[in-house]
């Protein structure tokens, strides 16, 4: 694998029922490309959390994945409300999700902690009122 394989998805922020679809597709593609189960698991967990966050907190966005032979880079960009206090948002269990979101099983406040735990690098660029871009790297 010397080429870089790229994927791009529009993540629909109005449809909770399709939340996670981009992550599921990426997982299938990475398997076809022959990445190890461990790498696929880490990418799946991190991307799913980021994708769900775009749906439940930011009204959707764009997910881009670049897979090469030494790393997989996931970029999740939204035009949502931004994150006012990133340090607070990173704390395990912290969530601003409303009850109707929690009733669906989301809002455990473990998304960002999982994204840190399962990736080798996580960068959050966020501006309140403008949006959030999360860039995650999983090394092969």
């Amino acid at each position: 694998m010397s080429d870089v394989v790229k994927f791009r998805f529009d993540v629909d922020g109005s449809d909770f029922s399709s939340a996670g679809a981009a992550s599921v597709t990426v997982k299938k593609k990475l398997r076809q490309l022959g990445y190890s189960p461990d790498v696929i698991r880490r990418v799946s967990i991190a991307m799913y959390e980021g994708e769900i966050n775009m749906v439940i907190h930011a009204n959707g966005g764009i997910a881009e994945v670049e897979a090469s032979d030494d790393k997989i880079v996931i970029v999740l960009a939204d035009k949502g409300p931004g994150i006012p206090d990133v340090e607070l948002a990173m704390q395990a269990g912290y969530s601003t999700a409303k009850d109707h979101i929690r009733n669906l099983g989301f809002g455990a406040g473990m998304g960002l902690p999982n994204m840190i735990k399962y990736t080798d690098d996580l960068r959050i660029d966020t501006v309140v009122g403008e949006g959030t871009t999360i860039t995650m790297t999983v090394l092969i």
């Binding site: 996670g20 992550s23 599921v24 997982k27 189960p37 698991r41 799946s44 099983g105 735990k117």
Partner: protein, 109 residues
């Protein structure tokens, strides 16, 4: 451990997929971010959450089966998605605790 043997012990009904496989280990929980990082491939995931998002998490984590406790069922569209993705789902009248006691007993035999 055999899924089929478990089905009998739990008086469970298969809602979709096949009960002829094997499973190893259990995770109990309804919060999807927790499940996402804790459900291991090939395990039994015991939950009372039965919405479409459970199917996405199962797609990513690949448990051998989902066991819905307390007679919880899945709506037809959710079952169709699970079926399409080859996920085995069964429902049992037992509580999550009782289900795990039964699995623990089975593991000891």
């Amino acid at each position: 451990m055999k899924v089929e043997a478990l089905q009998g012990l739990l008086s469970a009904r298969v809602l979709c997929g096949k009960a002829d496989g094997e499973f190893e280990g259990v995770y109990i929980g309804d919060l999807l971010s927790r499940a996402m990082s804790r459900v291991e491939a090939g395990c039994a995931w015991v939950t009372i959450m039965a919405n479409i998002n459970v199917v996405a998490v199962a797609n990513l984590t690949e448990p051998a089966l989902i066991i819905l406790a307390e007679d919880v069922t899945m709506q037809a569209d959710v079952l169709a998605a699970a079926e399409e993705n080859g996920i085995t789902v069964m429902t049992s009248p037992m509580s999550a605790y009782e289900i795990c006691c039964a699995i623990s007993k089975m593991a000891g035999e």
